[in-house]
Each structure stands twice: as C-alpha cells, then as structure tokens.
Symmetry: C2
Subunit: 250 residues, 2 copies
C-alpha cells in the first residue's frame, strides 16, 4: 500500500478553471480534506471519504492528512485558488517540519491552481502585466505594522498590488486604513479593481479611481487589485479594460 | 458573424496544466496566433489556421489578432503560463488602446493559466505561501536602475521574490548583479530555488543557499524564487521542501 498526499488548487470557482491534473488526483483519491465549502465542490462517489472541517484549523487538518497518507491512503487536501498562495500548502509543510521524521519522505505533491489574483486580473484586462506584489491584508498571522510597511514600500517600488483577504466581519477596519494610506501616496487617477466571486454566478466587477474606492466595496470574497503609476484604463460601454503596459516610460 | 478574441494561457508546459476553459476556446477557434513554440503546442485540425510568429513582435501579433476578430473570426492568442503575467495580454490591450475605437467593444476575454512562478513554487513546496512579489529581470522594456530599486525595496519589505526571465544570451550580465545585490543584503541561509522547464520532460529543480547561487544556474527557461527571511528548508533524501510559513514571528 503506498499512500500519497496531494495539496490541490480548485481555482476560483468555475469547474472550467480546474486543471486536469487536479481532476485526475481527485479521481484517484480515497480521502478529500479541507474547509467545508471547498470539500463541497468535490462530487461524492463510492470509495471516497470526504472530511470537511471548519476554518482556522489548518494545522490540525494538515496533520490528519499526513497521518492518513502515512497509513497508505491517497489523500487530496483541497484549497480554493492555488494552494501555494495564502492557502493550505504552507500549513501542510509547517506540519511536516514539526512532525515525525518519516513524514518528510512521504509522496507529497502540490498541484497548482488558478489563484484569485490571476482570475480577477484576467476579467479586467491585464493589471498585473508588469512587476507586481501580492499581500494578504489579514493581520491574523502577522502584525498590522508589517502590512503598512509593505504597502509603503510597494508604493515606492511602483508595483501593481494584489490584495487577498481585504476585509472580513472580524476585521472591518484595516482595509479603510489601507485605502487611506494609498490615497495619501498615489495619484488620483490610479485605478482600483474590486473583483468579487470571480467565475461564479455571483461574480461582480467594479473599477474605480482610487479616491472613489471605499472599504465597503470589499468583503472576504473580493480580490482587490490596485494599479501601478503606469496602469491604464480603457473606457468603453461596459466595465473598462485595465492593463499595465509592459514598458516603463521614464 | 460574431468574432471574438481570447488571450489564453497554456500553462508551463504539461497538457495536464491547461484549463478546460482554454481547451474549449481552442476547440472553437478559427485562428491561433502566437510565438512559434507556443503555437506548436496546439494540435492542427481542419478549419483551424495557425499563425506562428517570431519573438518580440507582440504588438504586430496583437493587431493581427484584433483585425481578424473584428472581421468575424474566432481568434485565440496563445501565451505560455498566464497571459496576464509578463505575457501577451498587456500587449493586446496596448494595441486596443492605440487602435480604432471599434476594437474596444470587441468580445475580448483573457483566459488565465498556471503561471511559471506557481508551477515552480508547487514543485518545491510553498515558497510563496506568504506575501511576495514578481519581477521581470529583463531590462528590454524598462531601465536597469528600476530593477535594482525594486529589488532593494522588495528586500526591505521582506517579500519572497519570484524572478521571470532571469537571464538570456542577450543579457548575460544582469542576473549576476541581482545575485550580488541580494548577497549583500540577505542572510546566508536564505534559500534560492532554480526551477527549469517545470512540468516538461526537461524539468530540473535545484535549491541552494544564497551564497552558493551562481548566474549560470539560470537561463531563459528558468524560474528563480528567492525566499523571504522567514522561508524554511526541510531537508530530506531528495530535493528539500521549501516553504514560507503563514505567520510572521516578530
């Protein structure tokens, strides 16, 4: 019996954005582990055990997955988006490092997926077409001061910026501070993209100039992308195209 | 006759990493346009015209695609990886903005793909599991000084760093300067991942501590990922796992 563990990205929501590699791993799995809404995206079938769990138990979930794989099961840990970007893969390797030495030699594979910022950027045009950064705005796992420091340096570097987890019920204030910091430092023409629930039936897309951006435009299902100083907006009848040119004019 | 233009990401190389959305667009296309090696990844069939073109003609290629779509053809522009990350999508929107007003109301969609940094990160573990930046190290389209400025600020922000286009025959020197700059500013324990031709039969993977990183370890098919100060290496019998923890310990 030779078990394995795949940490798989289900993409932002639509089945058409799940890679064949992930689909194949799910078809071979004996166990699927993950946060309730992500496990709900996997079709039940005979021989497959589903293990949905609550949010914020990432390390427990990872240990459980590793124990099952060590016992010979074929285990898929599911994440939305890409498992390596603010998702389950880091938690699994934290558990590997802290766990029994034998876990290091398990067959562990990370299967990439379409992460939220790529799906959101694609819907709007190409706002990440030049150098950019990705910042998780949740201060659950890092000090708020570090987020502000990174924002200031990202503005100075003139990166386009992709913000994950901009705002939640438990953290209603932070995103307003982020917008205030950007409004102080960036030109009024800079576009902000709010892309909610991309590729699902609830998808909404909104592009506003920075001064009009408001905290209430984002929630936990929203990806926020702020252009660099070079980012362009192409007006048209529907939501404008937003793109960052490949060249920098200096 | 209603034409459309899809700018599609073929992922890093393996068919198992092409999304069903992209596969469906290719199945409906009348024309496929792109750089020679990417068009070569599309199977010929009756009713499909392939238009391979040379490197560095991105704007000509984009105009051609837009003209065909405006004439009612169903056109797919193919990129490797994700079209929105240092690839064809920005060039298409540059052509839209500079072109006839009617092009703005064409049916233009960007279909995301697995970009090289996500594929490379997945192979190594989860080096991009915390805040990170993506920088194109080619100075073909921006001044070298801007690359160095962004590197200094990225180190100060303590981002993990994903480097696209680290080195080519035409630009043999820059990557050495990048490594020198990082060696001056970062601890000797910081891991550097060289991931070449990920998901293809030529794939190679190498993880070295920063002082051992050499310019010759990268070429145009290599994705380079440098960890943040928090990135961990888990030694084991094969290539070590590399991951950046979700939490920052301060």
């Amino acid at each position: 019996m030779s078990g394995w563990l795949a940490v798989a990205g289900l993409g932002p929501g639509a089945d058409a954005l799940v890679t064949p590699e992930v689909t194949a791993a799910l078809a071979e799995a004996t166990d699927v582990i993950g946060y309730i809404p992500y496990v709900a995206r996997v079709a039940p079938r005979p021989g497959l055990e589903l293990h949905p769990s609550d949010n914020r138990v990432e390390i427990d979930r990872s240990r459980h997955a590793l124990e099952l794989a060590a016992a010979g099961r074929r285990v898929v840990v599911v994440s939305s988006g890409d498992p390596g970007v603010f998702a389950m893969a880091a938690a699994v390797f934290e558990a590997v490092e802290a766990g029994p030495a034998g876990w290091r030699d398990l067959d562990i594979r990370v299967l990439p997926g379409i992460t939220a910022m790529l799906a959101a950027a694609a819907r709007a045009g190409a706002p990440l077409g030049h150098d950019f950064c990705a910042i998780n705005l949740s201060d659950n796992l890092k000090p708020w001061e570090l987020i502000e420091k990174r924002l200031r340096l990202a503005v100075e570097a003139d990166f386009a910026m992709a913000f994950y987890n901009p705002r939640s019920k438990a953290r209603p204030e932070g995103f307003g501070k982020v917008l205030d910091l950007l409004k102080e430092r960036c030109a009024d023409t800079r576009p902000v993209l709010f892309a909610r629930a991309v590729s699902t039936p609830e998808e909404t897309l909104r592009v506003v100039p920075l001064p009009e951006a408001q905290p209430g435009m984002a929630d936990m299902r929203t990806m926020v992308i702020v252009g660099s100083s070079q980012t362009r907006v192409i007006a048209r009848d529907s939501v404008p195209f937003v793109y960052t040119p490949r060249s920098v004019v200096t």
